[in-house]
């Protein structure tokens, strides 16, 4: 450690957040007792805590955590940690500091420290979380894309988790509209792109809006961090829209967190045959409001009528299908269908059906994934479903 350099409190908070087993609850408790620098020296000294809140947060693992932290902290130089943060252009906001996102102030379980890239001022105005399963159908991805695009165009900020599937599709839509800046909340360090392959999207969201995480740089994906991330999404949003969810899944956890905070939860109805809509249909059965169009969301936000004020949604530029292809398009429907099903529905021979499907795929009316065909609503939206 170089004692002649005075480090800001955020540097010590960053170093503390990087300790093994240091979740938001423990960090919050530790920082409530003393300021970050003092807390860091406390850890270095390997002393225990007698504050009841900290004792509760450490729980039964206190006996192992304190020495583990001491050992880990011995190899960490807060000055170097801080240098890395500054070099990466990442902003650090401590709870209680003026830089801390106002939307998270007063939350039931606020993150003790937030790392952000991009414009934190983007977190203003109405916000809607568009979330859903990673294992989504093409239809679901298309709906998420359209919702993201139309909400952003109407000046509503889209909050999501930057995962593959629905989350990514919603963000791609928001970016496509060039409207309100999107917010991405991730569970890893801001320099650890997960899932791999989302690099482009991360960069685009950080450039157009803001990328948030409560994990310090270099944090690898850990199982427990994803539900923790979901609580921040729920806390940031005024309304949570679930586009597709399986019977169990992370998006239903986001719903629970939204309920804890009294946020409205809406769900996009899906086919009773689609496994990816089981969770959302169950939400509707519970009495949540359905989202059939962007207007439903705007009404819930109290912004009815605003959809026309933003950039109008782009006109469908797809060439109208050839007359003979129309019945094939009808047969494809909005459910994933196999070749078997399409042959049975149309009664056509493969030699007649296959060229029609090819034409529909080329014109952007139908998407083919493996041996499955699905009708798509938006022309060639750049949705990678995986």
């Amino acid at each position: 450690m170089t004692p002649d350099v005075v480090l800001p409190p955020a540097a010590y908070a960053t170093a503390l957040a990087g300790l093994p087993g240091m979740g938001p609850a423990r960090l919050t408790a530790v920082l409530a007792v003393e300021p970050p620098e003092a807390a860091w020296r406390h850890v270095i000294a390997g002393r225990g805590w007698c504050d009841p809140a900290v004792v509760r947060a450490l729980g039964r693992r206190a006996a192992t955590l304190v020495p583990a932290w001491q050992a880990a902290a011995a190899g960490v130089d807060p000055a170097q940690v801080w240098e890395r943060v500054v070099a990466a252009g990442v902003g650090v906001a401590l709870a209680g500091s003026p830089a801390f996102p106002p939307a998270l102030v007063g939350d039931v379980e606020p993150p003790p420290v937030v790392f952000h890239q991009g414009e934190p001022e983007a977190i203003a105005g109405p916000r809607v979380a568009v979330v859903g399963t990673r294992r989504c159908s093409t239809t679901g991805a298309g709906v998420a894309f359209e919702l993201g695009r139309d909400l952003a165009a109407a000046g509503v900020t889209v909050v999501s988790g930057l995962a593959s599937g629905i989350d990514g599709a919603a963000h791609r839509g928001a970016l496509a509209a060039d409207g309100a800046p999107p917010i991405g909340v991730v569970a890893t360090g801001l320099d650890v792109v997960y899932p791999a392959g989302q690099h482009e999207l991360w960069r685009a969201v950080a450039e157009a809006g803001v990328l948030l995480s409560e994990a310090p740089l270099g944090t690898k994906p850990e199982r427990w961090r994803f539900p923790a991330r979901n609580r921040i999404i729920a806390a940031l949003a005024d309304v949570v829209v679930v586009v597709e969810s399986h019977r169990r899944g992370g998006s239903l956890h986001t719903v629970d967190e939204a309920d804890r905070r009294g946020r409205d939860v809406m769900a996009v109805p899906g086919s009773v045959r689609s496994a990816a809509s089981e969770g959302t249909n169950a939400l509707l059965a519970e009495g949540r409001a359905p989202v059939c169009s962007i207007d439903d969301v705007l009404v819930a936000l109290g912004l009815a009528g605003r959809s026309g004020t933003g950039a109008a949604s782009p006109r469908d530029r797809r060439a109208t299908p050839h007359g003979a292809d129309q019945p094939v398009l009808e047969a494809v429907g909005w459910q994933p269908s196999t070749l078997d099903q399409l042959l049975a529905r149309t009664g056509m021979s493969l030699a007649a059906l296959a060229p029609a499907l090819d034409r529909l795929c080329d014109a952007g009316w139908v998407a083919r994934r493996g041996g499955w065909y699905e009708r798509i609503a938006v022309r060639a939206h750049p949705v990678s479903v995986r």
């Binding site: 689609s274 496994a275 078997d340 049975a344 059906l353 060229p355 493996g370 041996g371 499955w372 995986r386």
Partner: protein
Amino acid sequence: MLASVRSATLLGVEGRPVRVEVHVSSGLPGFTVVGLPDTTCRESRDRVRAALLSSGLTWPNSRVTVNLAPPGLRKVGAGLDLAIAAGLLAASEQVPLGALAGRAFVGELGLDGSVRSVPGVLPLIDALAEHEVVVPRGSTVEAQLVGRHVVRPVATLAAVAGALTGRSPWPDPPGPADPPAPLPGPDLADVRGQPAARYALEVAAAGGHHLLLVGPPGAGKTMLARRLPGLLPDLAPAEALEATCIHSAAGLPLPPGGLIRRPPFRAPHHGASAVSLVGGGSHTMQPGEVSLAHRGVLFLDELGEFEPTVLDNLRQPLEEGVIRVARAAAKVAFPARLLLVGAMNPCPCGEGTAPGACRCTPRARARYARRLSGPLVDRFDLRVEVGRPDVAELLSGASGESSAGVAGRVAAARQRATARGVATNAQLPAWRLDDVAPLDAEATRLVERKLRAGRLTGRGLGGVRRVARTIADLAGDDGHLAAAHVSAALALRADPAFLEGRAA
């Protein structure tokens, strides 16, 4: 006294002639077998001695040396017993030496003097140039299949000795048993719905294209695959003999008529080892499942559960139609021209076909996908998603077309391929594609679009053209391939969902 007898031994699925020399001389009584006998073969000493004594013949109380020539060839099994016994009888002057001329002997001896069948009688007899062959009675039909020899079926060693000395005539061959009509295989009419998978079966049968069926459990993949042999034409006489030779060498039961006339169907379990699949073994070179399916269908159910290294052994035989197994003892080429049908679940949970339905973690899916190497997937020119049939279809759906109807079209399409000089379109060499499967203008544009979009690779294009040729043949269209044919071929070439992103 020295006697020389003709017989044969198996090397892989082929017979090799063996000269059995028996030398009986004065000296310390003893019995030696030289000339690379394996354990079973060396033990023939004890069987021959007991059989001779049980048959009322005399065991020479002198020094006996048996040489199996050529000495460099490994002799396997008990098929040389009868030849050794015959040589011993001649060398000890119990039968005239001249009686051995022009005759060959194949068979195993029991301690009671009975003559028993051995595996591979057909290839063994096929390797013999002698005019007359003495074979176990149980192998009469098999031996007669070769057709070049006078077959002398015998049941006991005493009968052989009697006939060789001229005291009694050769026993009559058993009357030709009328082979009962073969049981009809499962019929395609049992399959309800699933028009795409049915059509893929038809194309596979007509063109000899390898077929991959992907679908959730209970979709009927196995049911479909079992109906493929029923669509294939009868084996040509030469093909039937090849297939019969292999099954005979493996010691498998042959059909009543002796000859395997219908394409064989083999379905090894996914626990199969590499040797059981491709053949080999440390001492005896046994044909594997790939060779047993020669001229027929090899069905690998649960393809994703096979060991990846085992599966990759299939790549070479699928390409060349022959599998070369090299061991320290010998190098053997097993024939392996087969139609491969693979069936697999799309992912470990089995539901992954329909977008959004899978319960697997991405990591589990990736691990499952890695079990199937890209080059192996490339060998399948037909890849079809099989969905579970609708309940309504199962209960009330009209039964489909019968196997006989489809087989008629398949035979007609195969005739078109034969007229081009190849057995099936799948065997069309790349350099003949431009000549045999030219694309018309619209089809060329379609292929160009797919290539540019990365939906098709250069290697995949060859497969698509071969399949499109078969589709055109089935429809009776000669000449240029139209866009409809190419589209249909592409539609039957789905990437399994987990292979998404990899060009077809």
